[in-house]
Amino acid sequence: MEHLARFTLNYRNKAVSLVFMILLALIPLFIANDYYIHVLITLGLFIILSLSLNLVSGYTGQLSIGHAAFYGIGAYVTALLMLKLNLSFLVAIPIGGLVTAFFGLLLGLPTMRLAGDYLAIVTLGFGEIVRLVLLNWDKVTRGPMGLPGIPAPELGSYVFMSKIPYYYTVFIIVLITVATMRRIVNSGFGLSLIAISQDELAAEAVGINTLRCKIISFIISAFFAGIAGGFFAVYISFVSPDSFTFMDSIMVLEMVVLGGLASIPGSIIGAVVLGLIPEILRFMAEYRMLIFGALMVVIVIFKPDGFWSAKKRMRNAIMKDLAARKMIDTKTVSPRGEYIEGA
């Protein structure tokens, strides 16, 4: 009986996500407004970014505030490959991702030994170095003027003219990212990462090569950020250092924290919510960033675990299990598994 219940639940979850995916895939048929499609595409980009940062900062517990640097490297490499070597976007974006992953390795090798705050400062410095290099390496990046005129992607004879093919491209990239992240997180390697985030010393003691795991997660995270950057370059057809400041890094980190660390649905929700806030507040552009800053403070103080916290749900599931086995007083546990004070 229990088996059957679990099976149907699993099945239902799968069906729900399938319906959801089909709906998302059909959206361009219902919404003809270019602006809405544009917002959806940016949301897709944010989802890729927050998922990739979630692997490092959520699952592995290594706080990085230089994610925009990887995003920027991916964008510039892709842009340069398409402009200088006339490569197709299908080749250029993955190469951009690989180059970014290499930078992830370069940064990860020395810095992943560092603890907490130091890592945050180093990644902050790295983000600033990348921005300054993009800004000052005139010969390659054209400095503050940026790289305009990245050609529209072509598939055979089909040229991307409207926003809809871009929507499907980012949709596919998001699906790949979500699938990859799920595979990683549910694998043995993913368990090692979670162990590191909980207690690094204990993880080391049970034989996990913590440094290696951290570096690999950093590389994977950089790779997906680079892919997002590459798509951004192709989509906007213009890159400049202004798009990759440390404000963008903070924004991505905030998405991960808002959604709940170490949770894939959480990162997606965080990206959607924080991506929509600036669009909704567009009518009061003057106060937009002020409200954004205030929200950052308020949300962390009142909802420190985020909206969809994996930690909290795990705790609730354990509480429910204990109550079901009559190991604790059932009256103290709500149907959702939350602890009821004073019951």
């Binding site: 900062s57 706080l63 505030i65 020395p110 810095t111 030994r113 560092l114 907490g116 705050d117 130091y118 945050a120 400062i121 180093v122 902050l124 410095g125 790295f126 600033e128 170095i129 300054l132 290099v133 800004l135 000052n136 404000m247 903070i250 980190l253 905030e254 924290v257 660390l261 003057e286 106060y287 960033m289 002020l290 954004f292 800053g293 205030a294 929200l295 950052m296 403070v297 962390v300 103080i301 420190p304």
Partner: protein, 295 residues
């Protein structure tokens, strides 16, 4: 010579920022990412007082100091204390960056986006010194920074309050048991950091011009200086600040300005990797010191 003084003057600002960041981090263990914004607010408020209300330099500076102290205390009460557990660094990193965004945008709305000319001390008078033209303002920057450093060091080493600060920095829970109100100590450290921020802001503003983005890159270099000297190490903050200022001044002879900025961050990363406690933690400097004496 000109480069040397210029480097030391810039270095003194980095040192003041590193000092203030160190004050906060030694007692609470957090890195104040919003400090640069408080420095900017200090500069903007004193500019406002001088230009709009026609105050002279010193009273304007006092108003700015008061405002910065209040800002820092409000920041502690809302962004740090409410979080409870500071071991988990995700919380305060985000709230402090949030605070810095709020301050920057308040400044943008109050003072506008135009960079404003800020008066030099002594009206920008130059003196000739060993055949080099040096602005008196730059000499004052160095002097004021060193005076602040010496005063702070004396307070920390010689007074009852200083001993309490050191105790809280070393073992917060134990010092609470010994009857030290660590809450009050932390608050006063935040207040002192605010005062130092306002002074630093008023000193650097003539060079960078007063605007809401004036501390964008200086702020990050303040962290670099703090890292170079070691967090919470007063002497280290000064040494880190001056070293960074001098390196920048001399490197700028050879490389363009943009590359110069990134070099300070490269130095910072190298120092973090090899000497995470700062250059003052190298064995060479403290052979006979116990951990409690390093503050």
């Amino acid at each position: 010579m000109q480069q040397l003084i210029f480097g030391l003057a810039n270095g003194s600002i980095y040192a003041l920022m590193a000092l203030a960041i160190g004050m906060v981090s030694s007692t609470t263990g957090i890195v104040n990412f919003a400090h640069a914004s408080v420095v900017m607010m200090g500069a903007m408020v004193s500019w406002w007082m001088m230009v709009i209300y026609g105050l002279s330099y010193i009273p304007a500076l006092f108003v700015a100091i008061a405002v910065s102290i209040v800002l820092n205390i409000v920041m502690y009460e809302t962004c740090v204390k409410k979080l409870g557990d500071l071991q988990d660094n995700v919380g305060w990193i985000i709230t402090l960056f949030g605070a810095s965004i709020i301050l920057d945008n308040i400044a943008r709305m109050l003072f506008g986006t135009e960079p404003q000319a800020f008066p030099y001390l002594f009206g920008g008078k130059m003196v000739t010194f060993f055949g080099a033209n040096i602005m008196l303002h730059e000499l004052m920057m160095i002097t004021i920074a060193v005076v602040i450093g010496v005063v702070y060091q004396t307070i920390i080493k010689k007074t009852r309050f200083g001993r309490a600060v050191r105790a809280v920095a070393f073992r917060p829970a134990t010092s609470e048991l010994m009857g030290i109100k660590s809450e009050k100590i932390i608050l006063s450290c935040f207040a002192m950091a605010g005062a130092v921020a306002a002074i630093g802001g008023a000193l650097i503003a003539p060079i960078t011009f007063a605007s809401y983005t004036m501390t964008y890159s200086i702020g990050l270099k303040g962290f670099a200086a703090a890292v170079l000297g070691g967090f919470g190490n007063t002497k280290g903050a000064f040494i880190g600040g001056f070293i960074l200022g001098l390196i920048e001044a001399f490197i700028s002879i050879f490389v363009p300005a943009g590359i110069k900025d990134s070099i300070s961050f490269v130095i910072m990363i190298i120092v973090i990797i090899f000497l995470p406690e700062g250059i003052m933690s190298a064995k060479f400097f403290n052979r006979n010191l116990s951990a409690a004496e390093k503050v």
